[in-house]
Protein backbone atom coordinates (compact mmCIF):
# COMPACT_ATOMS: atom_id res chain seq x y z
CA UNK A 1 0.00 0.00 0.00
CA UNK A 2 0.93 3.62 -0.52
CA UNK A 3 0.07 5.45 2.67
CA UNK A 4 -1.08 9.04 2.29
CA UNK A 5 0.41 10.90 5.25
CA UNK A 6 -0.62 14.31 3.88
CA UNK A 7 -2.76 14.68 0.80
CA UNK A 8 -1.65 18.07 -0.51
CA UNK A 9 -4.17 20.22 -2.39
CA UNK A 10 -6.02 17.90 -4.75
CA UNK A 11 -4.95 14.40 -5.69
CA UNK A 12 -6.86 11.83 -7.68
CA UNK A 13 -6.16 8.38 -9.08
CA UNK A 14 -6.34 8.41 -12.88
CA UNK A 15 -5.76 6.10 -15.80
CA UNK A 16 -6.43 7.07 -19.42
CA UNK A 17 -10.18 7.26 -18.81
CA UNK A 18 -13.58 5.68 -18.88
CA UNK A 19 -14.38 4.98 -22.52
CA UNK A 20 -17.62 3.60 -23.88
CA UNK A 21 -20.11 5.12 -21.44
CA UNK A 22 -20.81 8.55 -22.89
CA UNK A 23 -24.18 7.28 -24.11
CA UNK A 24 -25.35 7.36 -20.48
CA UNK A 25 -23.74 10.70 -19.72
CA UNK A 26 -20.55 9.45 -18.08
CA UNK A 27 -17.57 11.76 -18.70
CA UNK A 28 -14.35 10.26 -20.00
CA UNK A 29 -12.31 11.40 -16.98
CA UNK A 30 -8.75 10.07 -16.92
CA UNK A 31 -5.49 11.99 -16.56
CA UNK A 32 -5.66 15.62 -17.67
CA UNK A 33 -2.16 15.51 -19.17
CA UNK A 34 -2.01 12.17 -20.95
CA UNK A 35 1.41 12.88 -22.49
CA UNK A 36 3.02 13.13 -19.04
CA UNK A 37 1.31 9.94 -17.87
CA UNK A 38 2.52 8.04 -20.91
CA UNK A 39 6.10 9.15 -20.18
CA UNK A 40 5.92 8.10 -16.52
CA UNK A 41 4.42 4.71 -17.38
CA UNK A 42 6.84 4.13 -20.26
CA UNK A 43 9.90 4.49 -18.00
CA UNK A 44 8.49 1.74 -15.78
CA UNK A 45 7.51 -0.35 -18.81
CA UNK A 46 3.94 -0.18 -17.58
CA UNK A 47 0.86 -0.31 -19.76
CA UNK A 48 0.00 3.29 -20.82
CA UNK A 49 -3.39 2.83 -19.11
CA UNK A 50 -1.91 1.85 -15.72
CA UNK A 51 -3.28 4.06 -12.94
CA UNK A 52 -1.17 6.91 -11.58
CA UNK A 53 -1.64 9.66 -9.01
CA UNK A 54 -2.53 13.06 -10.44
CA UNK A 55 -1.05 15.63 -8.05
CA UNK A 56 -2.41 19.14 -8.49
CA UNK A 57 -0.38 22.22 -7.53
CA UNK A 58 0.92 21.03 -4.16
CA UNK A 59 2.67 17.79 -3.37
CA UNK A 60 1.54 15.23 -0.78
CA UNK A 61 3.62 13.27 1.71
CA UNK A 62 3.50 9.57 0.91
CA UNK A 63 4.97 6.46 2.47
CA UNK A 64 5.66 3.24 0.57
CA UNK A 65 4.79 0.10 2.50
CA UNK A 66 6.28 -2.27 -0.10
CA UNK A 67 9.35 -1.90 -2.29
CA UNK A 68 8.71 -0.79 -5.86
CA UNK A 69 10.06 1.46 -8.59
CA UNK A 70 8.51 4.86 -9.28
CA UNK A 71 8.70 7.63 -11.82
CA UNK A 72 7.39 11.19 -11.84
CA UNK A 73 6.38 13.44 -14.72
CA UNK A 74 4.39 16.56 -15.50
CA UNK A 75 4.63 19.55 -13.17
CA UNK A 76 7.91 20.12 -11.30
CA UNK A 77 7.20 20.02 -7.59
CA UNK A 78 10.72 19.51 -6.17
CA UNK A 79 10.20 15.82 -5.34
CA UNK A 80 12.32 14.28 -2.56
CA UNK A 81 12.72 10.67 -1.50
CA UNK A 82 13.66 10.51 2.19
CA UNK A 83 14.59 14.20 1.90
CA UNK A 84 16.99 13.63 -1.02
CA UNK A 85 16.03 15.43 -4.24
CA UNK A 86 14.96 13.26 -7.17
CA UNK A 87 14.06 14.24 -10.73
CA UNK A 88 11.09 13.88 -13.01
CA UNK A 89 11.50 11.31 -15.81
CA UNK A 90 13.78 9.13 -13.69
CA UNK A 91 13.23 5.57 -12.45
CA UNK A 92 13.73 5.58 -8.69
CA UNK A 93 13.84 2.37 -6.66
CA UNK A 94 12.01 2.73 -3.35
CA UNK A 95 12.24 0.54 -0.27
CA UNK A 96 9.68 -0.32 2.38
CA UNK A 97 9.12 2.70 4.60
CA UNK A 98 10.54 5.29 2.17
CA UNK A 99 8.87 8.68 2.21
CA UNK A 100 8.16 10.74 -0.91
CA UNK A 101 7.61 14.43 -0.27
CA UNK A 102 7.54 17.56 -2.38
CA UNK A 103 8.63 21.19 -2.26
CA UNK A 104 7.44 24.15 -4.29
CA UNK A 105 5.64 24.22 -7.61
CA UNK A 106 8.29 25.24 -10.16
CA UNK A 107 6.59 24.62 -13.46
CA UNK A 108 3.29 23.25 -14.73
CA UNK A 109 0.28 22.47 -12.52
CA UNK A 110 -0.22 18.69 -12.41
CA UNK A 111 2.44 16.14 -11.55
CA UNK A 112 2.07 12.39 -12.04
CA UNK A 113 3.40 9.59 -9.86
CA UNK A 114 3.57 6.15 -11.42
CA UNK A 115 4.53 2.93 -9.63
CA UNK A 116 5.70 -0.29 -11.25
CA UNK A 117 2.58 -2.15 -12.37
CA UNK A 118 0.26 0.79 -11.62
CA UNK A 119 -2.03 1.45 -8.67
CA UNK A 120 -4.52 -1.35 -8.14
CA UNK A 121 -7.66 0.44 -6.97
CA UNK A 122 -11.10 -0.82 -7.93
CA UNK A 123 -12.25 -0.43 -11.52
CA UNK A 124 -15.71 1.05 -11.99
CA UNK A 125 -17.14 1.00 -15.53
CA UNK A 126 -13.81 -0.20 -16.90
CA UNK A 127 -11.63 2.49 -15.34
CA UNK A 128 -9.87 3.38 -12.09
CA UNK A 129 -10.22 7.13 -12.70
CA UNK A 130 -11.81 8.86 -9.73
CA UNK A 131 -14.97 10.75 -10.63
CA UNK A 132 -17.76 11.08 -8.09
CA UNK A 133 -20.39 9.58 -8.05
CA UNK A 134 -19.23 6.97 -10.56
CA UNK A 135 -16.47 6.12 -8.08
CA UNK A 136 -17.36 6.29 -4.39
CA UNK A 137 -14.48 8.67 -3.68
CA UNK A 138 -13.90 11.99 -5.37
CA UNK A 139 -10.23 12.29 -4.40
CA UNK A 140 -7.40 10.91 -2.33
CA UNK A 141 -7.49 12.00 1.31
CA UNK A 142 -5.20 11.98 4.36
CA UNK A 143 -4.79 8.47 5.71
CA UNK A 144 -5.89 6.71 2.51
CA UNK A 145 -4.02 3.54 1.57
CA UNK A 146 -3.63 3.01 -2.15
CA UNK A 147 -2.84 -0.55 -3.24
CA UNK A 148 0.01 -1.52 -5.55
CA UNK A 149 2.00 -4.68 -6.03
CA UNK A 150 5.46 -5.18 -4.59
CA UNK A 151 8.29 -5.12 -7.11
CA UNK A 152 11.92 -5.76 -6.22
CA UNK A 153 13.52 -7.00 -9.41
CA UNK A 154 12.75 -4.28 -11.94
CA UNK A 155 15.77 -3.40 -14.07
CA UNK A 156 14.77 -0.48 -16.27
CA UNK A 157 15.90 -0.38 -19.89
CA UNK A 158 16.33 3.36 -19.51
CA UNK A 159 16.65 4.79 -16.03
CA UNK A 160 16.42 8.46 -16.91
CA UNK A 161 15.51 10.67 -19.85
CA UNK A 162 16.21 14.33 -20.43
CA UNK A 163 13.39 15.75 -22.49
CA UNK A 164 11.92 19.18 -22.73
CA UNK A 165 8.43 19.20 -21.33
CA UNK A 166 5.65 19.58 -23.88
CA UNK A 167 3.82 22.17 -21.80
CA UNK A 168 6.41 24.94 -21.88
CA UNK A 169 4.34 26.86 -24.41
CA UNK A 170 1.42 29.28 -24.12
CA UNK A 171 0.00 28.31 -27.47
CA UNK A 172 -3.00 26.00 -27.79
CA UNK A 173 -3.54 24.35 -31.15
CA UNK A 174 -7.21 24.27 -32.05
CA UNK A 175 -9.47 23.00 -34.78
CA UNK A 176 -12.67 24.73 -35.87
CA UNK A 177 -15.54 23.62 -33.65
CA UNK A 178 -18.98 22.62 -34.99
CA UNK A 179 -20.33 26.18 -34.55
CA UNK A 180 -17.17 28.01 -35.70
CA UNK A 181 -19.11 29.53 -38.62
CA UNK A 182 -21.29 31.53 -36.20
CA UNK A 183 -18.31 33.68 -35.13
CA UNK A 184 -18.31 37.31 -36.28
CA UNK A 185 -15.16 39.08 -37.50
CA UNK A 186 -15.04 40.92 -34.21
CA UNK A 187 -15.26 37.67 -32.25
CA UNK A 188 -12.59 36.06 -34.45
CA UNK A 189 -10.30 39.02 -33.83
CA UNK A 190 -11.02 38.73 -30.10
CA UNK A 191 -10.04 35.07 -30.09
CA UNK A 192 -6.97 35.02 -32.30
CA UNK A 193 -5.36 38.44 -31.95
CA UNK A 194 -4.58 38.58 -28.25
CA UNK A 195 -3.80 36.30 -25.33
CA UNK A 196 -6.23 35.13 -22.64
CA UNK A 197 -5.59 34.49 -18.96
CA UNK A 198 -6.79 31.35 -17.16
CA UNK A 199 -9.55 32.20 -14.66
CA UNK A 200 -9.70 31.03 -11.06
CA UNK A 201 -12.61 28.88 -12.19
CA UNK A 202 -10.47 26.02 -13.49
CA UNK A 203 -10.65 22.38 -12.51
CA UNK A 204 -10.90 18.90 -13.98
CA UNK A 205 -14.33 19.74 -15.43
CA UNK A 206 -13.53 22.97 -17.23
CA UNK A 207 -11.20 25.93 -17.60
CA UNK A 208 -12.81 29.35 -17.88
CA UNK A 209 -10.83 32.21 -19.41
CA UNK A 210 -10.87 35.72 -17.95
CA UNK A 211 -11.21 37.95 -21.00
CA UNK A 212 -14.60 38.23 -22.67
CA UNK A 213 -15.17 38.54 -26.41
CA UNK A 214 -18.22 40.07 -28.12
CA UNK A 215 -21.48 38.68 -26.75
CA UNK A 216 -23.95 36.68 -28.82
CA UNK A 217 -27.56 35.51 -28.74
CA UNK A 218 -27.38 32.23 -30.67
CA UNK A 219 -29.43 29.48 -29.16
CA UNK A 220 -29.01 25.87 -30.17
CA UNK A 221 -30.29 22.47 -29.22
CA UNK A 222 -28.15 20.65 -26.66
CA UNK A 223 -25.51 18.57 -28.42
CA UNK A 224 -22.40 16.53 -27.68
CA UNK A 225 -19.25 17.97 -26.11
CA UNK A 226 -15.77 16.50 -25.68
CA UNK A 227 -12.71 17.20 -23.58
CA UNK A 228 -11.12 20.21 -25.28
CA UNK A 229 -14.39 21.67 -26.57
CA UNK A 230 -14.33 25.48 -26.33
CA UNK A 231 -17.82 26.79 -25.57
CA UNK A 232 -18.84 30.42 -25.98
CA UNK A 233 -21.43 31.68 -23.48
CA UNK A 234 -23.91 34.41 -24.50
CA UNK A 235 -21.92 36.85 -22.32
CA UNK A 236 -18.84 36.19 -24.48
CA UNK A 237 -16.93 33.96 -22.09
CA UNK A 238 -14.83 31.06 -23.31
CA UNK A 239 -15.17 27.83 -21.33
CA UNK A 240 -12.89 24.95 -22.25
CA UNK A 241 -14.26 21.58 -21.16
CA UNK A 242 -11.73 19.15 -19.73
CA UNK A 243 -11.64 15.44 -18.78
CA UNK A 244 -14.46 15.44 -16.19
CA UNK A 245 -16.53 17.76 -18.36
CA UNK A 246 -20.18 17.16 -19.18
CA UNK A 247 -20.91 15.00 -22.24
CA UNK A 248 -23.46 17.42 -23.70
CA UNK A 249 -23.94 21.17 -23.65
CA UNK A 250 -26.05 23.96 -25.08
CA UNK A 251 -23.48 26.69 -25.82
CA UNK A 252 -21.94 27.08 -29.30
CA UNK A 253 -18.82 24.92 -29.64
CA UNK A 254 -16.56 27.36 -31.43
CA UNK A 255 -13.21 25.57 -31.19
CA UNK A 256 -11.84 22.14 -30.39
CA UNK A 257 -8.42 21.74 -28.77
CA UNK A 258 -6.05 19.18 -30.25
CA UNK A 259 -5.17 16.25 -27.99
CA UNK A 260 -1.73 17.84 -27.52
CA UNK A 261 -3.29 21.20 -26.57
CA UNK A 262 -5.40 19.53 -23.85
CA UNK A 263 -2.13 18.28 -22.32
CA UNK A 264 -0.70 21.82 -22.45
CA UNK A 265 -3.80 23.39 -20.89
CA UNK A 266 -3.81 20.73 -18.13
CA UNK A 267 -0.53 22.25 -16.93
CA UNK A 268 -1.87 25.85 -16.72
CA UNK A 269 -3.12 27.54 -13.59
CA UNK A 270 -5.11 30.68 -12.74
CA UNK A 271 -3.45 33.76 -14.24
CA UNK A 272 -1.36 31.89 -16.82
CA UNK A 273 -1.43 33.32 -20.32
CA UNK A 274 -2.77 31.41 -23.33
CA UNK A 275 -3.28 32.00 -27.02
CA UNK A 276 -5.06 30.01 -29.73
CA UNK A 277 -3.54 28.86 -32.99
CA UNK A 278 -5.92 27.53 -35.62
CA UNK A 279 -4.67 24.35 -37.29
Amino acid sequence: MLKVLKSGFFITIQDLGRFGHRDIGVPISGAMDVESVKKANLLLENDPNDAVLEITMMGPKLQFEEPTAISLSGAHLEPKLNDVAIENHQVVQVSKGDILSFGKLKDGFRAYLAVKGGFQTEKVLDSRSQYFPVTKKKRVKDGDEIPYEESTSYKPLISEVKIEDHFLTDELEVFKGPEFALLTDKQLAGIFSKPFAVSKANDRMAYQLNELIEEHSHSMLTSGTLPGTVQLTPAGRLIILMKDGQTTGGYPRILQLSEAAICVLAQKKAGDSLSFKLL
Binding site: H21, R22, G25, P133, G249, E259
Partner: protein, 244 residues
Protein backbone atom coordinates in the same frame (compact mmCIF):
# COMPACT_ATOMS: atom_id res chain seq x y z
CA UNK B 1 -40.22 5.63 -42.42
CA UNK B 2 -38.89 8.98 -43.55
CA UNK B 3 -35.13 9.43 -43.75
CA UNK B 4 -33.73 12.94 -43.26
CA UNK B 5 -30.77 14.71 -44.84
CA UNK B 6 -27.74 14.63 -42.56
CA UNK B 7 -24.60 16.74 -42.29
CA UNK B 8 -21.29 15.31 -41.10
CA UNK B 9 -18.61 17.51 -39.54
CA UNK B 10 -15.21 16.68 -38.06
CA UNK B 11 -15.10 17.36 -34.31
CA UNK B 12 -11.45 17.42 -33.27
CA UNK B 13 -9.08 14.54 -33.95
CA UNK B 14 -11.22 11.73 -32.62
CA UNK B 15 -14.85 12.54 -33.24
CA UNK B 16 -17.42 13.36 -35.86
CA UNK B 17 -20.68 15.18 -35.36
CA UNK B 18 -23.64 14.00 -37.41
CA UNK B 19 -26.54 16.47 -37.49
CA UNK B 20 -30.15 16.04 -38.53
CA UNK B 21 -32.52 19.02 -39.13
CA UNK B 22 -32.48 21.27 -36.07
CA UNK B 23 -35.86 20.32 -34.61
CA UNK B 24 -37.18 18.32 -31.67
CA UNK B 25 -39.23 15.64 -33.43
CA UNK B 26 -39.94 11.99 -32.75
CA UNK B 27 -39.40 11.03 -36.40
CA UNK B 28 -35.93 12.64 -36.38
CA UNK B 29 -35.04 10.78 -33.20
CA UNK B 30 -36.25 7.54 -34.81
CA UNK B 31 -34.04 8.18 -37.85
CA UNK B 32 -31.03 8.75 -35.56
CA UNK B 33 -31.72 5.55 -33.60
CA UNK B 34 -32.13 3.57 -36.84
CA UNK B 35 -28.83 4.92 -38.07
CA UNK B 36 -27.13 3.98 -34.78
CA UNK B 37 -28.44 0.42 -35.02
CA UNK B 38 -27.16 0.15 -38.58
CA UNK B 39 -23.76 1.60 -37.63
CA UNK B 40 -23.41 -0.76 -34.66
CA UNK B 41 -24.03 -3.70 -37.01
CA UNK B 42 -20.80 -2.77 -38.82
CA UNK B 43 -18.97 -3.63 -35.58
CA UNK B 44 -16.19 -1.10 -36.15
CA UNK B 45 -13.94 -1.24 -33.09
CA UNK B 46 -13.44 1.68 -30.70
CA UNK B 47 -16.56 3.73 -31.47
CA UNK B 48 -19.00 5.20 -28.98
CA UNK B 49 -21.99 7.40 -29.73
CA UNK B 50 -24.27 9.75 -27.86
CA UNK B 51 -27.55 11.22 -29.03
CA UNK B 52 -28.90 14.64 -28.11
CA UNK B 53 -32.14 15.74 -29.82
CA UNK B 54 -31.07 16.16 -33.49
CA UNK B 55 -27.43 15.20 -33.30
CA UNK B 56 -25.17 12.24 -32.82
CA UNK B 57 -21.64 12.63 -31.50
CA UNK B 58 -19.49 9.73 -32.62
CA UNK B 59 -16.16 9.30 -30.86
CA UNK B 60 -13.42 6.98 -32.02
CA UNK B 61 -11.17 5.90 -29.16
CA UNK B 62 -8.55 4.48 -31.50
CA UNK B 63 -5.64 6.73 -32.34
CA UNK B 64 -6.36 7.51 -35.96
CA UNK B 65 -9.53 8.82 -37.48
CA UNK B 66 -9.75 9.12 -41.25
CA UNK B 67 -12.54 11.67 -41.64
CA UNK B 68 -13.21 11.18 -45.36
CA UNK B 69 -13.41 7.44 -44.94
CA UNK B 70 -15.74 7.52 -41.95
CA UNK B 71 -17.92 10.16 -43.65
CA UNK B 72 -18.40 7.80 -46.59
CA UNK B 73 -19.24 4.90 -44.23
CA UNK B 74 -21.75 7.04 -42.31
CA UNK B 75 -23.50 8.21 -45.48
CA UNK B 76 -23.74 4.66 -46.85
CA UNK B 77 -25.00 3.43 -43.52
CA UNK B 78 -27.65 6.15 -43.31
CA UNK B 79 -28.84 5.43 -46.84
CA UNK B 80 -29.07 1.68 -46.33
CA UNK B 81 -30.73 1.69 -42.94
CA UNK B 82 -34.24 2.18 -44.30
CA UNK B 83 -34.26 -1.23 -45.98
CA UNK B 84 -32.75 -3.36 -43.21
CA UNK B 85 -34.68 -2.31 -40.16
CA UNK B 86 -34.83 -4.35 -37.00
CA UNK B 87 -37.47 -3.58 -34.44
CA UNK B 88 -36.13 -1.64 -31.49
CA UNK B 89 -37.36 -2.37 -27.96
CA UNK B 90 -38.80 0.74 -26.32
CA UNK B 91 -40.36 1.12 -22.90
CA UNK B 92 -42.58 3.50 -21.02
CA UNK B 93 -41.21 3.97 -17.50
CA UNK B 94 -43.36 5.18 -14.63
CA UNK B 95 -41.14 7.29 -12.39
CA UNK B 96 -42.35 8.04 -8.84
CA UNK B 97 -42.16 11.68 -7.73
CA UNK B 98 -43.10 13.22 -4.39
CA UNK B 99 -44.38 16.75 -4.96
CA UNK B 100 -44.47 17.69 -1.25
CA UNK B 101 -43.28 21.21 -0.49
CA UNK B 102 -40.34 19.72 1.40
CA UNK B 103 -38.88 18.64 -1.97
CA UNK B 104 -40.63 21.01 -4.36
CA UNK B 105 -38.83 24.07 -3.09
CA UNK B 106 -39.96 26.23 -6.03
CA UNK B 107 -43.46 24.75 -6.27
CA UNK B 108 -45.24 27.74 -4.75
CA UNK B 109 -43.46 30.25 -6.96
CA UNK B 110 -43.93 28.11 -10.08
CA UNK B 111 -47.69 27.81 -9.41
CA UNK B 112 -47.93 31.55 -8.93
CA UNK B 113 -46.08 32.30 -12.19
CA UNK B 114 -48.03 29.70 -14.19
CA UNK B 115 -51.34 30.62 -12.51
CA UNK B 116 -52.06 27.02 -11.59
CA UNK B 117 -53.08 25.38 -8.33
CA UNK B 118 -50.59 22.85 -6.97
CA UNK B 119 -53.05 20.03 -7.72
CA UNK B 120 -53.46 21.25 -11.31
CA UNK B 121 -49.68 21.55 -11.80
CA UNK B 122 -49.07 18.03 -10.51
CA UNK B 123 -51.94 16.70 -12.60
CA UNK B 124 -50.51 18.25 -15.77
CA UNK B 125 -46.95 17.17 -15.01
CA UNK B 126 -48.01 13.56 -14.38
CA UNK B 127 -50.55 13.19 -17.19
CA UNK B 128 -48.08 13.53 -20.09
CA UNK B 129 -45.60 11.06 -21.47
CA UNK B 130 -42.19 12.51 -22.16
CA UNK B 131 -39.79 11.20 -24.77
CA UNK B 132 -36.13 10.69 -23.86
CA UNK B 133 -34.24 12.66 -26.54
CA UNK B 134 -30.82 12.12 -25.06
CA UNK B 135 -28.84 11.20 -21.96
CA UNK B 136 -25.98 13.50 -21.04
CA UNK B 137 -24.79 16.49 -19.03
CA UNK B 138 -24.48 14.27 -15.94
CA UNK B 139 -24.46 10.46 -15.70
CA UNK B 140 -28.09 9.37 -16.12
CA UNK B 141 -29.52 12.83 -16.86
CA UNK B 142 -32.36 12.54 -19.40
CA UNK B 143 -33.27 15.24 -21.89
CA UNK B 144 -37.06 14.96 -22.03
CA UNK B 145 -39.31 16.40 -24.73
CA UNK B 146 -43.05 16.89 -24.81
CA UNK B 147 -43.69 19.27 -21.91
CA UNK B 148 -47.11 20.95 -22.28
CA UNK B 149 -46.77 24.68 -22.99
CA UNK B 150 -48.83 25.45 -19.88
CA UNK B 151 -45.85 24.24 -17.79
CA UNK B 152 -43.20 26.29 -19.55
CA UNK B 153 -41.38 28.58 -17.14
CA UNK B 154 -37.98 30.26 -17.59
CA UNK B 155 -35.04 28.86 -15.65
CA UNK B 156 -34.21 30.69 -12.42
CA UNK B 157 -32.34 33.98 -12.81
CA UNK B 158 -29.60 32.74 -10.49
CA UNK B 159 -28.67 29.06 -10.54
CA UNK B 160 -28.38 27.28 -7.19
CA UNK B 161 -24.93 26.04 -6.18
CA UNK B 162 -26.46 22.78 -5.08
CA UNK B 163 -29.62 21.05 -6.24
CA UNK B 164 -30.38 17.81 -4.38
CA UNK B 165 -30.10 14.41 -6.07
CA UNK B 166 -33.47 13.31 -7.44
CA UNK B 167 -34.82 16.85 -7.82
CA UNK B 168 -37.45 17.16 -10.54
CA UNK B 169 -37.32 20.47 -12.33
CA UNK B 170 -38.90 22.65 -15.00
CA UNK B 171 -36.98 24.99 -17.32
CA UNK B 172 -38.50 26.49 -20.47
CA UNK B 173 -39.51 23.57 -22.74
CA UNK B 174 -37.82 20.98 -20.57
CA UNK B 175 -38.53 18.88 -17.52
CA UNK B 176 -36.07 16.47 -15.95
CA UNK B 177 -34.49 14.86 -12.94
CA UNK B 178 -31.09 15.67 -11.44
CA UNK B 179 -29.48 12.22 -11.04
CA UNK B 180 -26.92 13.52 -8.51
CA UNK B 181 -26.28 16.61 -6.38
CA UNK B 182 -25.33 19.31 -8.84
CA UNK B 183 -25.40 23.05 -9.40
CA UNK B 184 -28.47 23.95 -11.41
CA UNK B 185 -30.89 26.64 -12.52
CA UNK B 186 -34.12 24.70 -12.97
CA UNK B 187 -37.28 25.31 -10.93
CA UNK B 188 -37.60 22.40 -8.51
CA UNK B 189 -41.11 20.99 -8.08
CA UNK B 190 -40.51 17.57 -6.52
CA UNK B 191 -38.11 14.72 -5.89
CA UNK B 192 -37.74 11.23 -7.30
CA UNK B 193 -36.55 8.71 -4.68
CA UNK B 194 -35.13 6.07 -7.00
CA UNK B 195 -31.60 6.11 -8.42
CA UNK B 196 -31.51 6.83 -12.16
CA UNK B 197 -27.85 5.98 -12.35
CA UNK B 198 -26.15 3.16 -10.48
CA UNK B 199 -22.55 2.44 -11.53
CA UNK B 200 -22.48 -0.86 -9.62
CA UNK B 201 -25.08 -2.38 -11.97
CA UNK B 202 -24.23 -4.04 -15.27
CA UNK B 203 -26.64 -1.61 -16.90
CA UNK B 204 -26.15 1.55 -14.80
CA UNK B 205 -28.94 3.49 -16.50
CA UNK B 206 -32.17 1.56 -17.10
CA UNK B 207 -33.76 4.22 -19.30
CA UNK B 208 -32.67 4.32 -22.95
CA UNK B 209 -32.86 7.11 -25.51
CA UNK B 210 -36.18 6.75 -27.37
CA UNK B 211 -38.01 5.45 -24.28
CA UNK B 212 -40.87 7.37 -22.67
CA UNK B 213 -41.21 8.62 -19.13
CA UNK B 214 -44.37 9.27 -17.15
CA UNK B 215 -44.20 10.74 -13.67
CA UNK B 216 -46.38 9.28 -10.96
CA UNK B 217 -47.29 11.19 -7.82
CA UNK B 218 -46.42 9.43 -4.56
CA UNK B 219 -46.89 10.30 -0.89
CA UNK B 220 -44.10 11.05 1.56
CA UNK B 221 -44.51 7.56 3.06
CA UNK B 222 -44.16 5.92 -0.36
CA UNK B 223 -41.21 8.19 -1.04
CA UNK B 224 -39.44 6.96 2.09
CA UNK B 225 -40.12 3.34 1.20
CA UNK B 226 -38.87 3.70 -2.41
CA UNK B 227 -35.83 5.60 -1.18
CA UNK B 228 -34.79 2.65 1.00
CA UNK B 229 -35.64 0.17 -1.76
CA UNK B 230 -33.47 2.19 -4.13
CA UNK B 231 -30.57 2.36 -1.72
CA UNK B 232 -30.48 -1.38 -1.13
CA UNK B 233 -31.03 -2.02 -4.82
CA UNK B 234 -34.39 -3.83 -4.76
CA UNK B 235 -36.56 -1.14 -6.34
CA UNK B 236 -37.85 -2.26 -9.72
CA UNK B 237 -39.17 0.63 -11.77
CA UNK B 238 -42.52 -0.04 -13.41
CA UNK B 239 -42.26 -0.41 -17.16
CA UNK B 240 -44.53 -1.06 -20.11
CA UNK B 241 -43.25 -2.43 -23.40
CA UNK B 242 -44.24 0.07 -26.11
CA UNK B 243 -43.56 -1.79 -29.33
CA UNK B 244 -44.18 -5.46 -28.62
Amino acid sequence: MKSYPISIKPFGERAVLVEWPSKVEVSILADILDFMDAFKELKLPGWEMSVAYNSLTMVCNDEHLDFDNIKRIILECHEKQASSKTKRVQHLWRIPVCYDAEFGIDLEEVCKTLKLSQEELVKQHTSHQYIVYGIGFLPGFMYLGGLPSSLEIPRRAEPRLQVAKGSVGLASKQTGIYPQDSPGGWNIIGNCPIPLFNPSLKDPCFVKVGDKIQFQQISKAEYNLHKIEGEVGIYKPEKVLLNA
